[in-house]
């Protein structure tokens, strides 16, 4: 039992809960120290299963350390540490606590050896992360947070249901590879799919991430979806369906990203598209493909954090990240612009940067399986990435036409966080061997072949030339203040309208029945009853406890008086 306490997740979670006890400077030191201590513990722990805990007659394996869990554990710690530096200026303790617990929960989930432990941490990621949205403290953020929470907890509920079905059928809660035909596996698959933002289950991501706080979005972008990628890689590697789901995921967000005005929402679509590459890799399931998915998740967390950091700095200084209101900011924020460009080139997979050495592993794995349609889809999506993340993000915020907005450069701590992250993006691109050494399987892969470098540069620079032609001719879609309908329209508009319509329809026969009553006084009585019992009426409203106590007292008195003979 005591060895179960030696868990990096608990270091983060307990440490996060204790943060409010510290004064400002001490709190900063503790916040910086937590991921470092936790990562040291992770590296110190021996490989294998540990931390057995009895729970309702089941044996939980709260700590499983193997190569797949380790690489995700490592990158989650790095992401948590970078996010702390980025948020160091922030005086909002709530966000610091939420972010630390959230990171800890994600780490605990990738180290979970069984499904029940996974589910507990799975739900904790949802419950802790929603505060990073609510911390914006606006009415809009409140509603967004509620929608986010419902969907995230919904994913957890599906997971619980799947585990229950599985446990009843097989008596096992082991978290190992499954096939979709096994009992409960489909429910678990859907639970993972929601968190991984599968098509039609994706919109919580684009809805919620852009509405979180400046620093909150950076934290959010790292964990939830990559936890789902890990869970899919663990549970459903080689499931062919994932290849097609992933391919669709790489495709459709790029069209939305082109016409989206909120640049943090553009990044959310781009995040969705990048997840698609990883999901394809998991679906292919060969050693190279799984390595590719893990490596790409690793690189992706860094460059995506970097891009969200840069846009967060713009939001922090300018007060908006709407492309239609920005432009020319490189004059005010040259460092932020430079770091943003490094992030953009990394995600676009330019040679010498991180995306180049990781994404190509997935494409090669797809090619080795002779899946030429999927391969072409991924190549097509790569050209799309160049548009939304490679060009649109840096171009419309820092260049394009000068908006005339002048501001200060980002705070020093933000610049340091972006600087380190950018250095890591370049480091991985120049010298990928340390990352390759962390991958689940032994790597025999070299990204820097002549063919790969030249063909990739051809793809990217000709796509960039496409942008130059379209933009200079005025054919590129202008940035305009607007929003675009996505699948959230179904539950934000269509469903409430349908429900309201049904409710009105259900009320109609009742009204007709009342009119048919022979007696006018009977009609009146029914109308009075209706008025008090309908939503918002006297009988349907919430009553104070005091009033109820008063009524109980009155009833008791009536009872007393009437029984007094």
């Amino acid at each position: 039992m005591t060895e179960a306490l030696l868990n990096p997740a608990l270091v983060m979670i307990v440490g996060g809960m204790l943060l409010p006890l510290f004064k400002e400077t001490a709190r900063k030191v503790v916040m910086l120290a937590l991921p470092v201590v936790s990562l040291a513990l992770l590296c110190w722990l021996p490989t294998g299963d540990a931390g057995m805990v009895q729970f309702f007659g089941m044996t939980l394996e709260t700590l499983r350390l193997d190569r797949l869990a380790f690489i995700f554990g490592v990158i989650f710690h790095i992401a948590a540490f970078l996010a702390v530096i980025y948020a160091l200026h922030l005086k909002d303790t709530l966000q610091h606590v939420a972010a630390t617990i959230y990171a800890g929960a994600a780490i605990g989930a990738v180290l979970a050896g069984d499904l029940v432990t996974l589910m507990l941490y799975w739900e904790l990621t949802a419950l802790s992360s929603v505060f990073l949205i609510w911390a914006r403290r606006t009415e809009r953020a409140y509603h967004v947070g509620m929608r986010y929470l419902i969907i995230q907890v919904g994913s957890g509920v599906l997971l619980i249901a799947g585990i229950a079905v599985r446990y009843v059928a097989t008596g096992s809660i082991d978290f190992e590879r499954m096939t979709l035909a096994e009992p409960g596996a489909l429910l678990i698959f859907l639970a993972f799919g929601i968190k991984c933002a599968f098509p039609l289950m994706h919109n919580w991501l684009q809805d919620a991430y852009p509405e979180a706080t400046v620093t909150g979005t950076v934290v959010l972008s790292a964990f939830t979806t990559k936890l789902a990628v890990y869970a899919l890689a663990r549970g459903f590697a080689g499931t062919e369906l994932l290849i097609w789901i992933g391919a669709v995921m790489t495709l459709f967000p790029i069209f939305f990203a082109v016409i989206e005005n909120d640049l943090r929402r553009v990044l959310a679509y781009s995040l969705n598209n990048q997840l698609g590459f990883m999901v394809v890799g998991i679906g292919v399931g060969t050693e190279l493909a799984i390595n590719g998915a893990a490596a790409h998740a690793f690189a992706h967390i860094l460059y995506k954090s970097l891009l969200f950091m840069a846009m967060g700095a713009v939001l922090f200084r300018v007060g908006t990240v709407k492309a239609s209101e920005l432009g020319g900011l490189y004059k005010s924020m040259p460092w932020t612009a430079a770091f943003c460009i490094i992030g953009s080139m990394s995600i676009s997979a330019f040679p010498l940067l991180s995306g180049f050495v990781t994404k190509s592993m997935i494409l090669t794995a797809v090619a080795e399986e002779h899946l030429w349609v999927v391969w072409l889809v991924l190549l097509f999506a790569s050209a799309g990435v160049l548009d939304h993340s490679g060009i649109k993000i840096p171009f419309f915020s820092f260049f394009a036409h000068d908006s005339g907005k002048r501001c200060e450069e980002a705070p020093l701590n933000m610049l340091i966080a972006m600087g380190i992250t950018a250095a890591l993006c370049i480091g991985i691109g120049l010298y990928p061997q340390p990352l390759y050494a962390l991958l689940p399987f032994v790597v025999d892969y070299d990204a820097y072949s002549t063919t790969h470098v030249i063909t990739q540069l051809q793809l990217l620079l000709f796509a960039a030339a496409g942008f130059a032609v379209l933009y200079r001719r005025g054919w590129y879609p202008p940035e305009i203040p607007s929003l675009n309908l996505d699948s959230d329209w179904l539950y934000r508009r269509a469903w409430p309208a349908l429900w309201g319509g049904l409710a009105r329809l259900a009320g109609r026969p009742q009204a007709l029945a009342v009119r048919a009553l022979p007696d006018r006084s009977a009609q009146g009585l029914v109308r009075v009853l209706q008025r008090h019992f309908r939503p918002g009426g006297l009988m349907a409203g919430p009553w104070g406890t005091g009033l109820m106590v008063l009524w109980v007292a009155v009833l008791l008195m009536v009872y007393l008086v009437s029984s007094f003979d």
Binding site: I259, W375, A383, F399, V469
Partner: protein, 89 residues
């Protein structure tokens, strides 16, 4: 904040950059003649396959997204106004 004129403020310099890009593209295209491509699929070996695919895919994505706007574009406060039910925002 100093507001001196920057190098990029001159449209001629922007044009120079763009023309530089076109020259790079041409050089990369010609590079296809100078080495043996190691490919998985036969079509990859076609002259300039990646170049033309990149350009074509890019233009297709941007122009079709522009077309999508016709159906998907709504005012910014679309979800905030004309609320159909109290639960919607």
């Amino acid at each position: 904040m100093n507001d001196r004129r920057r190098w990029l403020d001159d449209p001629r310099n922007v044009s120079r950059l763009v023309h530089g890009l076109y020259v790079l593209c041409a050089a990369l295209l010609l590079a296809d003649l100078l080495y043996t491509k190691h490919t998985h699929f036969p079509f990859e070996a076609w002259f300039g396959f990646f170049a033309f695919f990149g350009f074509g895919a890019y233009v297709f994505i941007v122009m079709s997204a522009k077309l999508l706007r016709r159906w998907l574009k709504r005012p910014e406060d679309y979800y905030e106004r004309d609320r159909p039910g109290a639960h919607d925002d």
